[in-house]
């Protein structure tokens, strides 16, 4: 099937098998190798790219689904290594990457997160990145990087520590799984 999409601002097109995953279209058809594939189950987020401005896991999107869409990968964020996008620059400054494999997906998820929530708390950053796994950094410096990229001082933004601010008051429960109205 013939598809066309804008990738990092450039028009691309190809005749592809319907089963071709967007991640493979980017990597193999277009040769954009920054986007990595780390799992089979939509769990790790290494393949995260922006599709029409929103983060998606490109291993769980068919290339044909992205037909006529605008896609951005990490390569499209920064023109070159000397002029990094603010998010990439923050990852650099805060040592938000080690082996680098999760990084392209993590950076794109973080860009999408700030798009939806420009000044997140520490907890909101952590929950906003719940779809991206990193095995190297323990996330400590990734969280700092995203806070820096949002224009905040990571040393000042505690976001209430680890405890979640539940939508309801009153009931003492362990953090991480409560949502409610409190009527």
């Amino acid at each position: 099937m013939k598809i066309q999409m804008t990738v990092n601002g450039a028009d691309t097109s190809a005749d592809v098998e319907p089963r071709l995953l967007l991640a493979h279209y980017l990597r193999d058809t277009l040769g954009l190798k920054a986007t990595n594939i780390g799992c089979d189950t939509t769990s790790c987020g290494a393949c995260t790219v922006l599709m029409d401005g929103e983060s998606v896991k490109s291993c769980t999107v068919l290339a044909v689904q992205a037909d006529e869409a605008s896609v951005q990968t990490m390569e499209g964020l920064s023109p070159d290594a000397d002029s990094l996008h603010p998010m990439a620059a923050a990852f650099h400054a805060e040592h938000g990457l080690q082996c680098g494999f999760c990084t392209p997906g993590m950076v794109m998820a973080a860009v999408s997160l700030l798009e939806e929530n420009p000044r997140p708390s520490e907890r909101e950053v952590r929950e906003g990145l719940e779809g991206n796994l990193c095995r190297c950094t323990g996330y400590h410096n990734i969280v700092r990087a995203v806070l820096v990229a949002s224009g905040q001082d990571p040393d000042a933004v505690t976001g209430g520590g680890h405890a979640e601010e539940a939508a309801s008051g009153g009931v003492e429960v362990a953090p991480g799984f409560s949502t409610g109205s409190g009527a």
């Binding site: 080690q98 082996c99 950076v107 952590r126």
Partner: protein
């Protein structure tokens, strides 16, 4: 001003953050143009005889170039760990028998990657199932043998020759014994395994994702039955290893063999589902700890009895109990210590190194034992620990396990974390919550640990060369996969040469360029390879001075090197290092051999909240001292600590590779194998402490594994502490909600009786 000890952000990152790194599967090397794609058909059964393999249909599938079975592979089955029982060899493709789910059986080579799975689905293998062997105690009975020729499931052992001393605990008022499990973990590096190979002019070129290219070269050459000179290993960027990518995997040799067999380049990149059964895993020990002492809190005797899992084919994991035994008494001065370990094969994925590799198992055991002992005599576990610590004036200290500890300030480390945490206030808060009967209880866990770094290989090569254009090349036998050597090693060279980091390139991972090296593992890089680079740069300075002395007609002793220039002290006379490199190469090749490992130490304090109704534990704070001696680059050292802490928390709370009784893996995807996202972790509090070692001239020790060694028992202990008032004494890791809830219920039933 010295660059050492300063916060230099990584020079490798701008590329990683713009174009991305280049991992093995990203390679566009022209030698790989037209490469075939390898898809492996893997065993769906844990233990079975192969009765037939039908490949005709697969051979006829679109794009298929070759389908290769075990009978066609002429590499001899290999013993993957030299110290194992000699009958426990693995075939590169199983022909007669499979011994774990995920063992490769048939190789399918296709023109396009997408054709591989389609063709592989058409391969039909018939199996005659055999009983699985999962439990270590069951394995030890030898009722079902994995290798009939071996006549036993015991691969090897440590300390098995002598009987335990039946009088070991005779002097003790109190003796506590318990079996605890150090569960099996998957390294789960985000990059799975990958290899590509081409065979040209009688030589194999193998690109692979490894932590140790030189040993990968030697292993692959050995398996192929060729000289090491006939194998050239190139390691592109590596997406994490954590011990599981030390050396080569059998699949790498298969890729190389297939490249020669087909006459085409071959590429292989496994899926995550394959990785979760195919790549080596870590830990997996059944430990029986016995600890004894008096009611004042003096620990007098300790025994550690280990059954260690080797998986189906013994690999590096079979030797790691050596470290577990060596580090058994940890930071404590215990009069009588004995230990032994039996290494057993089971019908599971092979066990090898995983961050900490033998030492977290030792620390988890002794720290758990200290808690159990403290609980039994009704004393604060922190005070019991403090009372038994080896004192600073006792160093150098050789333990009953035979470990020659270099330096240690254990009590200081403990005090630092207690002070930073506000230990008395935490205990008061815990008491208040208990009195109020709150649903969310507080738990405090403390570990004091010592580990061994650079324990496997003490020697490392390095070369430093200044080029006529003023740039510098550093060659190292260490092999980073996220640690930041490109930055750190450049700092070491820059310190001596006074040349900026932007002009210094660190090269590694190409066995033609760096023929000797031991790679990056066991937290060894800085204390071996880093020191070697530092030494090489220092020697280069001396060489430059000698050359400049002739040129400048000065005494070498009157020369200084700064900013890449040799100058006569107190004059304007001088020559740049670059100029000195014009007439003949200005290069030093050197070797550093420490001759001994280091024993870094620290203390971790974890504060967890446990919901006693649901059993869910959440880490609220973790505060750590990880003393690795002087720190070259705090940014990198902190990063190593962060990552290790996260993995330690994860072992304590979440992770476990699980098999059912038939040997089917139940955690073979990232949906089922739970390691944390950012949402499950807090930010970490790191405290500084730097006690130098004397085993290398920089005084530096390893830092890579401290987190998994210190954090794991601290968090486990904190979870148990949170529910100890309900009568709970122990919960195996991972302390999952189900396990915590079950333990609370069991304690309630016990308490009612």
């Amino acid at each position: 001003m010295s660059i050492m000890g300063t916060r230099v952000i990584r020079t490798e990152d701008p590329l990683f953050l713009s174009r991305g790194a280049t991992y093995t599967d990203d390679l566009t090397d022209e030698r790989l143009i037209g490469a075939l794609h390898l898809t492996l058909v893997r065993s769906p059964l844990a233990h079975a005889r192969i009765t037939s393999v039908a490949v005709d249909e697969a051979r006829a599938a679109p794009g298929v170039v070759a389908v290769v079975t075990g009978a066609e592979v002429d590499m001899a089955p290999a013993l993957l760990f030299g110290g194992a029982n000699k009958a426990m060899v693995r075939s590169f493709l199983a022909a007669d028998k499979v011994r774990f789910v995920g063992e490769p059986v048939v190789a399918v080579l296709t023109e396009e990657a997408y054709q591989g799975q389609d063709a592989a689905d058409l391969v039909e293998v018939d199996y005659d199932p055999l009983p699985a062997v999962i439990d270590l105690h069951a394995a030890a009975t030898d009722e079902v043998l994995l290798f009939e020729d071996a006549g036993t499931n015991t691969s090897n052992g440590f300390g098995l020759d002598a009987e335990f001393d039946e009088h070991l605990f005779d002097d003790c008022e109190v003796v506590v014994t318990r079996e605890i499990t150090n569960q099996r973990l998957a390294a789960a590096s985000l990059e799975t395994r990958a290899a590509s190979a081409v065979w040209t002019d009688g030589r194999y070129t193998l690109w692979c994702s490894t932590q140790a290219p030189q040993s990968a070269r030697d292993e692959v050459a050995g398996w192929l039955g060729v000289d090491s000179a006939q194998v050239h290993v190139i390691t592109p960027d590596v997406g994490g290893g954590f011990g599981a990518k030390i050396g080569a995997d059998p699949e790498f040799a298969l890729v190389a063999w297939l490249a020669r067999h087909t006459g085409r380049p071959v590429r292989w990149h496994e899926s995550r589902s394959e990785n979760m059964t195919g790549m080596v895993q870590g830990r997996s020990q059944a430990q029986t700890v016995t600890i004894g002492g008096n009611r004042d809190g003096d620990v007098l005797a300790y025994r550690l009895d280990v059954l260690a899992d080797a998986g189906a084919y013994p690999r590096l994991g079979a030797v790691l109990p050596l470290f577990t035994r060596m580090m058994a008494p940890g930071v404590y001065d215990i009069g009588k210590v004995e230990s032994r370990a039996r290494v057993l094969v089971t019908t599971t994925t092979s066990i090898a190194a995983y961050r900490g590799a033998g030492r977290p198992e030792a620390t988890a055991a002794i720290e758990r034992a200290m808690d159990l002992f403290a609980a039994e005599i009704g004393k604060d576990p922190v005070e019991v620990r403090r009372r038994n610590l080896i004192k600073p004036e006792q160093f150098p200290f050789t333990t009953k396990g035979g470990a020659p500890y270099d330096t240690g300030e254990y009590a200081n480390a403990l005090d630092k974390v207690l002070d930073a945490a506000g230990y008395p206030e935490l205990r008061a808060e815990q008491k208040a919550r208990r009195e109020r009967g709150e649903v969310v209880q507080l738990g405090i866990g403390v570990s004091v640990f010592v580990e061994i770094t650079g324990g496997g290989a003490f020697s490392e090569d390095a070369a430093v060369e200044v080029h006529p254009d003023g740039t510098v090349t550093v060659l190292t036998g260490t092999s980073p996969h996220g640690q930041g050597h490109a930055t750190a090693w450049a700092m070491l060279a820059s310190e001596h040469l006074g040349i900026g980091l932007d002009k210094i390139t660190v090269k590694h991972g190409d066995t033609d360029l760096v023929p000797r090296g031991s790679g990056t593992m066991g937290s060894r890089s800085l204390q071996t390879g880093g020191v070697a680079v530092y030494q090489a740069a220092g020697e280069l300075v001396e060489l430059a001075k000698q050359r400049a002395a002739d040129l400048l007609e000065a005494n070498a002793d009157d020369l200084d090197v700064a900013d890449g220039r040799v100058s006569v002290r107190g004059t304007d006379s001088g020559v740049t290092l670059a100029q000195l490199a014009e007439s003949e190469p200005l290069r030093v090749d050197t070797n550093f051999d420490s001759g001994a490992p280091c024993f870094p130490f620290g203390a971790h304090l974890a504060v967890v909240e446990v919901d006693v109704e649901s059993g869910k534990a959440v880490v609220d704070r973790i505060i750590t001292v990880d003393d690795a001696g002087p720190v070259l680059n705090p940014v990198l050292a902190e990063g190593q600590r962060h990552g290790g802490i996260a993995q330690g928390i994860s072992q304590a709370l979440l992770e476990e590779v699980v098999y059912d009784e038939d040997g089917n893996p139940l955690t073979a995807t990232f949906a089922d194998y739970a390691f944390p996202s950012a949402a499950e972790l807090p930010s970490f509090t790191l405290l500084d402490m730097a006690t130098p070692t004397h085993v290398n001239p920089m005084g530096v020790k390893g830092i890579g594994e401290a987190g998994t060694i210190g954090a794991t028992p601290a968090v486990q202990s904190a979870v148990i502490d949170a529910v100890s008032h309900l009568g709970v004494r122990h919960i195996d890791m991972p302390t999952s909600p189900l396990r915590v809830w079950t333990a609370i219920n069991a304690a309630a039933v016990e308490g009612a009786q």
